[in-house]
């Protein structure tokens, strides 16, 4: 039995490898994407084009503005005299934010009256606006603290921040382990979903059926290439993350390998179900797309699941990527223990078991 399965696996891998374009599509894009996206996917915002509308001529406003200019987050690119110019510049996207300081600012601060400055932000990019607003608040806090200290009034509290596992809030450390998982998913899912559909469409599937191979053996043979390619790809991409981008990998490699294996199996199970239901390659591909794009967006890859509405949070429980992301980030950054990873592994194993057995059932029924 194993000899037959091995022969089938070799045949499947050869079918993938022998076609120059297929080979190219499996190797080059993940690496190119890794290099490109690693640099692009950052939540750090730097050099925000800031416009200034300062109606206050006294020194305090200049002092505050200096703080904005000294920060890497902002770049002062324009000065305004009137609201019409501000409005024009914001809508034309010449500035992302405008700081408005009223005419009585310095006088208010010196006289001990509350002073308010306005930050006008372009809400078209609300993600960026949120981050920029945080930077501005930090700068103004610093200004306030210094003035309180100068007046001899401490706020009484000194804050000390520590971010565990990623002390400098590096976006790359967060994105790259996630990207490893996503690129692996795309490759293994597509390979599996398309191989069955392709053979059926080309009629070579019937040829496979008249061989001595039993349906179960065919299924195993169809599962193996996706598993092998997914596993190798995950390791290559993880290596790029670690050696190319300096993302720490402090966890156990064995846990990573175990998790990737279970995870790829669950992706393969989904791919097999899609290809068993689909009648043509095209329908398979559509199925893969319809599954992949929400699965990636809802997985917590780019935005936290906790921020999603409750009903979409519920959907994420059947998304294997969700669990693999936790384990991947865990082994890269925090040396997660087997005990802590157990829930995630169990959930992925459950998804794998359900989808693989459903695929087997569909497969058997179609053969009869």
């Amino acid at each position: 039995m194993w000899r037959r399965i091995r022969a089938l696996i070799v045949k499947e891998l050869l079918a993938l490898w022998k076609d120059r374009k297929t080979r190219y599509v499996l190797i080059a894009p993940p690496i190119i994407q890794m290099i490109l996206f690693a640099n692009a996917a950052t939540y750090e915002v730097t050099g925000v084009a800031l416009g200034v509308w300062n109606e206050d001529r006294a020194h305090l406003s200049a002092e505050l503005l200096h703080r904005f200019e000294d920060s890497a987050a902002f770049k002062r690119v324009a000065n305004f005299e009137d609201p019409a110019a501000v409005a024009a510049a914001i809508s034309a996207e010449q500035v992302k934010a405008v700081l408005h300081i009223g005419p009585t600012f310095s006088a208010d601060v010196l006289a001990g009256r509350p002073a308010t400055i306005q930050l006008l932000l372009d809400g078209r990019r609300s993600n960026t606006a949120l981050i920029v607003q945080g930077y501005a608040a930090e700068i103004v806090d610093g200004f306030n603290r210094e003035r309180l200290m100068a007046a001899g009034i401490g706020s009484g509290v000194a804050l000390e921040n520590r971010a565990w596992f990623n002390p400098n809030f590096e976006s790359k450390w967060f994105i790259l382990p996630g990207l490893t998982v996503i690129l692996t998913t795309v490759a293994s899912l597509l390979i599996t979903a398309l191989s069955v559909a392709r053979e059926r469409e080309l009629g070579t599937f019937e040829q496979l059926l008249v061989t001595p191979l039993r349906p179960m053996e065919i299924l195993i043979g169809k599962t193996a290439p996706g598993l092998i390619v997914g596993f190798v790809e995950a390791n290559v991409i993880a290596a790029i993350a670690v050696y190319g981008y300096g993302v720490p990998f402090i966890g156990q490699i064995l846990l990573f390998h175990a998790a990737i294996t279970i995870f790829v199996l669950s992706a393969i199970g989904i791919g097999l179900v899609i290809s068993s239901i689909a009648k043509t390659q095209q329908q398979s591909i559509l199925g893969v797309f319809l599954f992949l794009s929400p699965a990636i967006i809802l997985s917590g890859f780019a935005t936290p699941i906790a921020n999603m509405p409750r009903w979409s949070q519920l959907i994420t429980y059947v998304d294997p990527i969700r669990y693999m992301l936790v384990v991947a980030r865990g082994v890269f950054l925090q040396d997660i223990s087997w005990a802590l990873a157990l829930d995630q592994l169990a959930a992925m194993a459950a998804i794998a078991a359900v989808t693989l057995s459903y695929a087997t059932w569909l497969f058997r029924r179609k053969l009869q």
Partner: protein
């Protein structure tokens, strides 16, 4: 190279053939009409960076009125759902289990040092940095909650309240900073990219694979006519998906539409041409559906998600990556859609994008035509 002469009669015939094919094969209709609905519904609610009710621990080793007051300040904040811990070990374990995103430690001598001396009291804030962005946002919120509490205490104790400068944030075009207002236009761009490329990439790749492409060749239709026939048919289908997506965005997601529909249709039409031509190029180069599917996914979905400004700020990327984003057509479409939906028909923003898209359309169409012609000869 053959002379490009187009016969309207033959083109019409080809169009009829394409439409019959579309009507009889459910997969193109599935791509064009069902996909936008499913994708918008599932994804429209999925992307949000504004944290609410963050699970946050307060380690209170002090257990006095002061420390309870600080806890209360977290409980009152809309950003936090605080949980009380007796000691930092328990909080640490909860952080590792991801039950809480971070915690703050009030030592046993917190209230004594607070009332005692001139030395400021140390408060440690620990956050789980695995999700760097979330960690930074949560840290900011926590500092804000502590600052509010500290200001309240100063005022209570009757210290001549030293007024602090406060920032009033105003978000133009999206005053409540609704995530949907920002995400839905971007998602429509994502969907249009995928639909355009998928329609031509898959459908045409299948024709190559099945050999039906060669079958049309023996007809008197010229190569240009064949390509144009396909493009036109899928163009109509693609515009239908635009109508579905925009309709859902406006009526279901309640995203305001402040621009003009004329500008929307113009820019979308040019963008659709780009993605259709791209799909055609992919399919002619790939010739088989597996490679075409991989290529379509890799050149549409992922770059649009990461390089178009849909999620990540382009201006903050390194210079060379910014250069690469200029080659991503979706970048111009995302920015145009966000402007059209939220700001209005702002030509200074739209015109450069329209120009870039037109250039893309010309280049990709030219390449696709040449490539198809060559492979047919």
């Amino acid at each position: 190279m053959s002379v490009v002469a187009i016969s309207p009669a033959r083109l019409l015939g080809l169009l009829r053939k394409e439409f019959l094919q579309i009507v009889r094969d459910p997969s193109s209709i599935l791509i064009a009409l069902v996909m936008p609905i499913v994708l918008l519904l599932l994804n429209g609610y999925g992307i949000s960076l504004d944290a609410r009710d963050v699970p946050f621990g307060v380690v209170d080793e002090n257990r006095t009125v002061e420390s309870a007051g600080l806890y209360q300040s977290f409980a009152n904040s809309p950003y936090f759902k605080p949980r009380l811990f007796q000691d930092s070990h328990a909080a640490e374990a909860a952080l590792l289990r991801r039950d809480i995103d971070g915690y703050l430690v009030l030592r046993g001598d917190f209230s004594r040092r607070l009332s005692g001396g001139n030395q400021p009291v140390q408060i440690a804030i620990v956050v789980n940095g695995v999700d760097a962005n979330n960690a930074r946002i949560v840290t900011g919120y926590a500092e804000g909650a502590v600052a509010i509490w500290a200001a309240g205490r100063l005022a209570e104790r009757g210290t001549r309240f030293h007024p602090a400068v406060s920032v009033e944030n105003r978000y133009w075009f999206n005053p409540e900073l609704r995530s949907a207002n920002f995400i839905v236009p971007g998602l429509i761009a994502l969907i249009m990219t995928m639909i355009g490329a998928l329609l031509t990439a898959l459908v045409v790749a299948r024709e190559w694979e099945r050999g039906t492409m060669e079958a049309i060749m023996v007809s008197p239709a010229t190569k240009t006519e064949i390509v144009l026939g396909k493009l036109l048919a899928y163009f109509v289908l693609g515009m239908a998906s635009l109508a579905v997506s925009v309709g859902l965005g406006i009526f279901l997601f309640q995203v305001p539409f402040r621009g003009s529909f004329g500008a929307l249709i113009l820019i979308s039409a040019v963008f659709l041409l780009v993605s259709l031509a791209m799909g055609l190029l992919i399919s002619t180069t790939a010739r088989n559906q597996f490679v075409a599917a991989q290529a379509a996914f890799l050149t549409t979905f992922m770059p649009t998600m990461i390089l178009s400004g849909l999620l990540f700020d382009i201006e903050s990327m390194p210079g060379w990556v910014q250069g690469v984003t200029r080659l991503i057509a979706a970048r111009y479409y995302v920015s145009s859609l966000q402007t059209l939906f939220l700001a209005g028909t702002v030509w200074p923003v739209l015109l450069p994008s329209l120009g870039a898209l037109a250039l893309f359309a010309a280049v990709f169409l030219g390449l696709a035509l040449r490539r198809t012609r060559r492979s047919l000869e």
